[in-house]
């Protein structure tokens, strides 16, 4: 059996786990290549125009896989990957959206991953799936339990200072990319599928590296501390990524080594539209909200990044000299 895994959405968090899972069952795993212009165009044509850019990109990856020799496409219904939290409504409907809009699609493996109430729901879902596929449910459960180890491995790699995109490369045995060094340290926030896809983020990490800024992402920090910081909000954030972003921002805000923060968001992202405001209201460090979509031009993003880095450097220089604020309050109101 050969299963295709699209390189989109939570691929960047969960690919090692999924790969381990299918390998345990002796299935072959194929992934779509890194996003390219052609895939973006195909996805934008296929998805409804109101969908966010990463969903459109995912459509492109699915179309790419549909044209290849795969028996199945793995597109789980990611409802919730932790207790009492969700990811995004679109994640909950994606298998249905794909089936409704793409004709001639290979059968989807749409495992419903929902642990919002308890782990038992997930195991029942695995049993249901193994029955449907004619597999032994004990073996599938064991494969799943075994595969969670891969996520821990990926997290351990990222904790050493790698982004998720780089981390997956390292996990697969590729040599680690050169660590960014520079006089600036910038916290980079955003959904993993926006930050780590070169075509969505318009090469944000590379650009920052070129400008002499080292990027810190939430994966490089202690999840325990992030959770504690996020718990300071009056109401628990019910989006997994949203809560991580708030926690990361609050944690980085206390870190004197961090000069500023950039929040990369995709146009139309529901959780981000709220979280950016929550963060902006609470952090004191320079904060920039960068909104991208399929119409964004690389030059515009570079200009804003350069301006942000210049401002951070000037701020540091002036603060050494005297205590005047070099940017006033306007930076906060993007």
């Amino acid at each position: 059996m050969r299963v295709g895994i699209p390189r989109g959405l939570f691929f960047y968090h969960l690919y090692p786990q999924w790969k381990t899972f299918f390998n345990y069952l002796d299935w072959e795993v194929a992934t779509s290549p890194p996003t390219n212009k052609k895939m973006v165009e195909a996805g934008v044509m296929m998805a409804v125009s109101e969908a966010c850019f990463p969903v459109k990109v995912l459509y492109g990856h699915i179309l790419e896989l549909a044209g290849r020799e795969v028996d199945y496409i793995f597109m789980p219904r990611l409802v919730s990957i932790e207790r009492r939290s969700y990811i995004c409504p679109k994640f909950m409907g994606i298998p249905d959206m794909l089936r409704a809009q793409i004709q001639g699609l290979p059968p989807l493996i749409d495992l419903c991953i929902d642990v919002s109430r308890n782990e038992g729901d997930l195991y029942r879902e695995l049993d249901r799936w193994s029955k449907k596929m004619g597999l032994k449910s004990g073996r599938v459960r064991k494969a799943w339990n075994d595969s969670t180890r891969a996520t821990c491995e990926l997290e351990a790699i990222c904790r050493q200072g790698h982004t998720l995109g780089e981390g997956i490369g390292v996990w697969e045995g590729k040599p680690a990319a050169k660590r960014g060094t520079g006089d600036l340290t910038i916290g980079v926030l955003g959904h993993c599928y926006a930050l780590n896809d070169r075509l969505i983020s318009l090469g944000l990490f590379e650009r920052l590296r070129e400008m002499g800024a080292a990027a810190v992402t939430s994966e490089m920090l202690d999840p325990q501390l992030i959770e504690e910081a996020a718990a300071r909000l009056p109401k628990r954030v019910f989006w997994t990524v949203g809560r991580t972003m708030v926690g990361t921002a609050l944690l980085l805000d206390q870190n004197p080594g961090v000069d500023g923060m950039i929040y990369l968001t995709c146009f139309g992202c529901g959780p981000d539209s709220m979280m950016a405001k929550i963060i902006e209201h609470r952090v004191n460090k320079p904060f920039m909200l960068l909104t991208v979509d399929e119409h964004s031009g690389e030059a515009g993003v570079v200009t804003r990044l350069e301006a942000f880095c210049d401002m951070l450097r000037r701020k540091r220089r002036l603060e050494l000299a005297h205590n005047l604020s070099p940017y006033g309050e306007f930076l906060y109101s993007h």
């Binding site: 219904r77 409504p89 909950m92 409907g93 146009f267 539209s273 709220m274």
Partner: protein
């Protein structure tokens, strides 16, 4: 403490009645207007959905009239609404406003916990008073729903549309002012009698029937959908909408068991072939309603939602298949502060022309005949 709450269509009639009967000093925000929206946009995050922006405008206008506390509902996702109150509080604090925010979080959406929270607001009323306040508010909700249904039915059928609208408005006003449980039904009956006495539009005996589905706020707040229902009624269309206030209260606070109120619980399974899971907000309800409308042989469906609404985007993607399989034309309309009335009318006219043409040409509702035009329409 003078308390206010956000608008959602005519729900203010029941909410203000409930709060007043509980002994609170209520400030009903001024009706949603351009100014409300402008105030809201000025201080809201740029890409947040339209209901948030109108909410914020409501608060600011109500505060200008002396409101010191805000009553708002919460939720536990995944729809953005669950975090509305938190962000709104942050923004109002940034503006230097002093206020008290009462957020009703209904963790399991059950009535007893809700009542406890209401009592914790420091209201010194007996359980009997609470009970009669709820009864009165519930009767008002039912009256409002009936008046809206009357408007859906009569507006396309009468010759003098303006008179019909003002009769309904007068009816709403009298329900708002009425404090007697028993008089409520008579008030609506009177409007019903008055409306049926109006001169008929002789050319429109058998109006086109269009179902409305979508996100509840945008459906129920005429200001958020650019008065879509009246617009359609004036174009001679009978509107059918199975989402309304009593249905919402029944389904979300009573688990759909009230016998005297409509419920979508029986309709929901219709969505399953197309959408196998709930997606937050009203996504699944939208799909189920659309299938239901198709089975009721309505002539078309309009999906209504605020721009970037996540659950409705899922529904919209799935509806492409629903219209093909069930053979019903569906048009999706997203609203935000940049929508223009004329553009909306043009789209409605085009949709209605297509439906009339389809009815005339085929005389039946065969799905396969018109797929070309439907395709294009859904992509506007």
């Amino acid at each position: 403490m003078r308390i206010t709450f956000p608008h959602m269509g005519n729900s203010y009639i029941a909410i203000s009645s409930l709060l007043k009967e509980l002994g609170l000093d209520v400030v009903v925000p001024p009706p949603c207007s351009k100014r409300t929206l402008e105030l809201g946009i000025r201080y809201s995050p740029e890409f947040v959905c339209l209901p948030f922006k109108i909410n914020l405008g409501n608060y600011l206008e109500a505060m200008d009239q002396g409101a010191e506390a805000i009553l708002m509902a919460g939720g536990w996702g995944p729809c953005r609404f669950g975090y509305y109150a938190q962000v709104e509080r942050d923004i109002l604090q940034d503006l230097g406003r002093e206020f008290n925010m009462v957020i009703i979080e209904a963790p399991d959406s059950k009535l007893p916990s809700l009542l406890n929270q209401v009592r914790q607001m420091g209201i010194k009323t007996s359980w009997f008073q609470v009970w009669s306040a709820i009864r009165l508010a519930w009767e008002k909700l039912k009256a409002v729903d009936r008046l809206e249904a009357l408007q859906h039915y009569w507006l396309p059928r009468v010759a003098d549309k303006s008179r019909c609208e003002s009769m309904v408005d007068a009816g709403l006003k009298s329900v708002d002012g009425c404090g007697e449980l028993r008089e409520m039904a008579a008030l609506v009956d009177k409007v019903d009698r008055d409306l049926s006495g109006l001169g008929r539009d002789v050319d429109n005996n058998n109006p086109i029937r269009i179902g409305l589905a979508g996100e509840i706020y945008t459906l129920l707040e005429p200001f958020a959908n650019y008065y879509l229902e009246r617009q359609l009624g004036r174009m001679g269309v009978e509107v059918v909408r199975d989402v309304n206030l009593t249905q919402w209260v029944n389904d979300h606070l009573f688990g759909g068991v009230l016998p005297s109120a409509p419920s979508l619980h029986t309709t929901l399974p219709l969505a399953t072939p197309y959408l196998q899971y709930w997606v937050g907000g009203h996504g699944r309800e939208t799909v189920a309603s659309t299938v239901g409308y198709a089975r009721q042989k309505l002539d078309g469906v309009i999906q209504v939602a605020p721009l970037t609404c996540m659950p409705e985007i899922v529904a919209q993607s799935v509806l492409e298949k629903v219209q093909e399989e069930e053979g019903i034309p569906v048009m999706t309309m997203y609203f935000d502060e940049h929508a223009g009335e004329v553009g909306i009318i043009t789209r409605l006219e085009a949709f209605l022309d297509m439906i009339r043409w389809r009815k005339m040409k085929t005389g039946d509702t065969d799905a396969k005949n018109l797929s070309g035009s439907r395709r294009r329409l859904c992509q506007h």
